[in-house]
């Protein structure tokens, strides 16, 4: 297949459904082993292990200063790891300078060359490969067509809008067909509406070209939308790696549960472990009854996490569910498709709950109403840290 045909192909070359990380024994495409990066006394990245598979769109998610950008820069070769190894497609990157790596980076500031036209910016990398001028400009032109900027080819970067600059940066990073594309906050400088449109465009381009992407972002919505898998980082450590749904539904720590989306966190001790039942005595909700889960012992300190939308709000007391509490609607925020509630329990604890508004003419639970809230045992996520 020619390059042009590959770019123009409408069908994704790699289906989004393939999940190589689920199959045991698949060889990872990028392998980060025990990587550490220290700047003086400060440890930016500590003992990170990470396997990324071919064709993935992997998001490193975390607040600023969590080490996600440092990890990305080590993959690009701009920073040397203090210890540990990085392997890309079986090749150890330890002694490979940035200009010899099979990676390209899209910078947060875009870093477009201000003295070159859009076309020259995109062709720059190809010319460095030793491609002839005509071939390089032809490929650059194809790439610009794909990001719908062929009309702006002769403009300088400062004559473009923010969204156009973002697409030039993407085209320039993709034109060399890198094995791995690194994107540092690729949508950070765009306004909300443009960002949402661009997210899906980015996914489409990634699937069409089949290039492995690693995206660094602090925006959880962006990570959830883009990623095949997310690595949540905090203080130089990857807290959890998983598909967006795993990260949201089964967070492995209070930090991840709280960082992704909204959550009600309660603290307690395991009160009883029986073959058919496990009971947690929580400070906020009193006893919570759950089906038995392996690995917990009596007296163990645990936390419980419940997403706001997992609560069922009813006027009548649910008869079958033992995990039921009564409270009063203290605040109510109607945002159209959803309503957010703050419910004050009898013991003074405030619970965040939300209900989707499916019916136009339903009689919604309103301010100061007495309500029963209940949670299914499977929606109560037990955390040990």
């Amino acid at each position: 297949m020619s390059d042009a045909a590959m770019i123009d192909a409408k069908q994704p070359a790699i289906a989004a459904e393939t999940k190589p990380w689920r199959a045991k024994g698949t060889r990872p495409f990028i392998s980060v082993k025990n990587i550490v990066k220290r700047f003086g006394d400060f440890t930016a990245v500590s003992n990170v292990d990470l396997d990324i598979y071919k064709g993935e769109l992997f998001c490193l998610l975390g607040e600023s200063g969590c080490g996600k950008s440092t990890l990305l820069r080590m993959l690009a070769g701009f920073e040397q790891p203090t210890s540990g190894t990085i392997t890309i497609d079986g090749e150890d990157m330890a002694r490979v300078p940035p200009d010899r790596r099979p990676t390209n980076m899209m910078f947060q500031s875009y870093a477009l060359f201000p003295h070159m036209t859009v076309e020259k910016n995109v062709a720059y990398g190809l010319l460095r490969e030793g491609l002839s001028r005509s071939a390089a400009y032809e490929r650059a032109g194809e790439m610009l067509r794909m990001v719908k900027l062929e009309k702006q080819a002769r403009r300088k970067p400062d004559q473009l809008s923010g969204g156009q600059r973002q697409r030039v940066a993407l085209a320039r990073a993709l034109v060399k067909k890198p094995k791995l594309l690194l994107l540092d906050e690729p949508l950070g400088a765009l306004d909300k509406k443009l960002r949402e449109e661009t997210q899906f465009e980015l996914i489409k381009i990634q699937e069409t070209l089949g290039v492995t992407f690693i995206v660094v972002t602090h925006d959880q919505d962006e990570a959830m939308t883009l990623a095949t898998r997310i690595g949540v980082m905090k203080d130089g450590i990857i807290e959890q790696i998983g598909e967006p749904r795993e990260i949201y539904e089964t967070p492995n720590s209070r930090f991840v549960a709280d960082f992704i989306g909204s959550v009600n966190l309660v603290e307690g001790k395991i009160d009883a472990v029986a073959p058919d039942l496990m009971r947690i005595e929580t400070n906020e909700l009193g006893p919570v009854l759950l089906p038995p889960q392996p690995g917990y012992t009596r007296g163990q300190q645990v936390w419980g996490a419940v997403r706001p939308e997992r609560w069922a709000l009813t006027r009548a007391k649910p008869e079958t569910n033992p995990n039921t509490w009564q409270g009063v609607v203290e605040e109510l925020g109607y945002i159209g498709h959803m309503s957010h509630y703050r419910i004050r329990l009898e013991n003074g604890v405030l619970i965040r709950a939300s209900q989707s508004n499916r019916l136009r003419d339903e009689d919604p639970i309103s301010w100061d109403e007495k309500v029963w809230i209940s949670v299914q045992p499977t929606a109560f996520r037990v955390l040990t840290r």
Partner: protein, 312 residues
């Protein structure tokens, strides 16, 4: 409002300026404009007028512009004779060419030496950067003349360099360095180097490090990155620095007079000789006017080149 702005003279002046349509802003700009007018344009016209006169032994030593004819009519005495004389005499032509050559070569050397220094300072971390900048400016705190004399101490036949080389047994007899073009180059490059470094530093310090990383990421070696990104982006700094070295160097008098030999021909020296040696003010004025145009022409050309680059 303080007491000053409430006082009668202040208010009177403000009222009068308002009547004349002069705003405060105009006044602020007018002061430096007036300064330039008085101290640049006026002497320029005086020189221009003298250059059209004829040298006579009198005081002042040139013919007046206006003269009463025998019939009482007013005559204007002006000729381009001095300019024709400059063109005809190869001495002046050679002096101009030699000045341009020396200034050009000095500028190139200042650029080659100054660029790495400016780059290094611009990339240095903060406390170090300030110290390095101070070191560049430090020589200005001592007299220029003194520093040129210090170079004489180095370059003389029994100076520091020759003595060291002979002491080490590398040479048997001293190398002639004083009174050569080499010494003039050393003097000019040394003196004007800070004027090259400072605008280059100002430019290079603004260079976004991410651009260099981006070039590297796209496969450019550090060398290629320099020639395709750093150098083109620092062009305005190169032009500014080169101007600041070339323009004063072309009219330099003191350095060739002190360090140069009898055959180091520079227009500043010719000018001096004409004014104070021959007391031929008209020819000297013509020399100065021509030099002015020689200096202005390249500036205008560079300006237009830069404007065209910005437009495209």
């Amino acid at each position: 409002m303080n007491a000053l702005t409430r006082s009668a003279p202040w208010r009177g002046t403000a009222w009068m300026m308002g009547k004349l349509g002069i705003s405060g802003r105009t006044l602020v700009i007018a002061i430096p404009m007036l300064w330039l007018l008085i101290f640049f344009l006026a002497p320029f016209f005086v020189l221009g007028r003298i250059s059209l006169a004829e040298a006579i032994i009198a005081r002042p030593p040139y013919t007046p512009l206006f003269e009463r004819g025998p019939d009482g009519s007013l005559e204007i005495i002006a000729s381009l004779e001095n300019y024709r004389f400059l063109l005809a005499d190869s001495l002046y032509r050679n002096a101009y060419l030699s000045s341009i050559r020396i200034a050009l070569i000095s500028t190139i050397f200042a650029l080659l030496i100054g660029y790495p220094i400016a780059y290094y300072i611009a990339r240095a971390p903060e406390p170090k950067r300030s110290i390095l900048l101070l070191m560049v400016i430090l020589p200005f705190w001592t007299s220029f003349l003194l520093r040129v004399y210090a170079w004489m101490g180095f370059l003389r036949s029994n100076g520091v360099i020759n003595n060291t080389l002979m002491g080490l047994g590398i040479i048997d007899s001293p190398i002639q360095m004083m009174q050569t073009d080499f010494a003039v180059y050393i003097g000019i490059v040394y003196t004007y180097l800070p004027f090259m470094i400072l605008p280059l530093y100002a430019n290079l310090t603004k260079l976004d490090g991410a651009l260099l990383e981006a070039a590297g990421d796209l496969g450019a070696s550090p060398m290629v990155t320099f020639f395709t990104v750093t150098l083109p982006l620092s062009l305005p700094g190169i032009v500014a620095g080169s101007m600041l070295v070339f323009i004063p160097a072309i009219g330099e008098y003191v350095i060739p007079a002190l360090l140069g030999g009898p055959d180091t021909l520079m227009i500043g020296r010719v000018l001096w000789d004409e004014f104070f040696g021959s007391r031929d003010w008209p020819v000297a004025s013509a020399v100065a006017i021509v030099m002015l145009f020689l200096v202005v022409a390249p500036i205008m050309w560079l300006q237009s080149v830069q404007n065209r680059r910005e437009e495209s």
